[in-house]
Amino acid sequence: MKHLLSSLFVPQERNSHRASILRPHFLSFLIIFYLFNQTLIKSFTIVKPGVLGYSSEITAAKVFYSTNLERQKNGLPPLHFRSLLANSAKNKTQDMFTHNYWAHTSPEGKTPWDFFKSQNYEYTVAGENLAKDYYDTESMMTAWMQSPTHKENIVNPKYKEIGIGVADGVISGIKTTLVAQHFGTPVDGIIANNTTEEIELNSHPFGLSNESQVLAQTSTRLAISPLFISKLLGSLMFLILIFALLVDAYITLRNGTHRISGSSAGHLGFLLIIFIFLIYSQQGKIF
């Protein structure tokens, strides 16, 4: 074991004066090992759907509050919560879980406007924002606000009302939370004026009691994020390589060894930047 570790990390005659872990065959092994792990995760989501997933603390009330906060920052009046729009947004999220898709238009060709119409919501203008795999409302709102098309919906002065659907379920074998925002302005010009309590009640996909909501949220938190597993494994691999590069550079300098190999400074700088990219890779997707 000692010999193996020494050969892996310490440049010496046995490994042609280059730490084995930095040699092409071991780098290839790391690539294959990581791809195997990713395949294993993918297979697991097929065999045991719903075990891996993204936990979330997002509620419709938080999304409603954050949306109006962004509008306020942009000098716009707040949107009014409309239960018809909340129902269409909730139906949209349920439809995505039922038919296993993630898009504005379903595989059967159902558009967002079909969900508005199914609630008999007659509109002059309407819009839809979607998000999935987010843990918290703040990150999701930031992602929407960074995207010009989603921001256009949130801070659009033409919209007067909003409905929000937040639902937990399984898509492609991965447990997740889907969020749909449905924006609109009614043709009749009569604007809803709902209370916060109504918004809270509407925040659950099935309009369950408070007790059921707590249970549903608790079970969601147990999900193990596949992104977390990948990030953890990737970070470990990067840290091992960075450590090996430092040891390799130190020993080579101490022994005054001359050899043909890549630049340690280059590799180190590159790996550090990629490591930062990996750590700050954004979870969640918007559409």
Partner: protein, 83 residues
């Protein structure tokens, strides 16, 4: 060894520093846009690979084993970030 390398070829390492620094700025700028974020990562990785070819060509030790080494580092980075 690392400092010695940088002192030997400061200009070339400065170019690499600029590539990585600009890449980091662009990454955080487009952090919430998946498509642009991935483009930045691919840009940084390919720039790094081409920098290595330039660096070792100038140094006079551009051997196949070195090209393979950089290629594998670049491939590992892409796989870890994109998959």
């Amino acid at each position: 060894m690392i400092i010695k390398e940088i002192k030997e070829k400061p200009g070339e390492h400065f170019i690499l520093f600029i590539i990585l620094f600009v890449g980091a700025i662009l990454f955080f700028q487009f952090r919430y846009n998946e498509l642009l974020r991935h483009r930045v990562i691919y840009g940084v990785v390919s720039s790094y690979f081409f920098w290595s070819l330039f660096h070792h060509y100038k140094k006079g030790d551009l051997h196949l084993s070195i090209i393979i080494e950089y290629f594998l580092f670049a491939l590992l980075a892409v796989i870890l970030i994109a998959f």
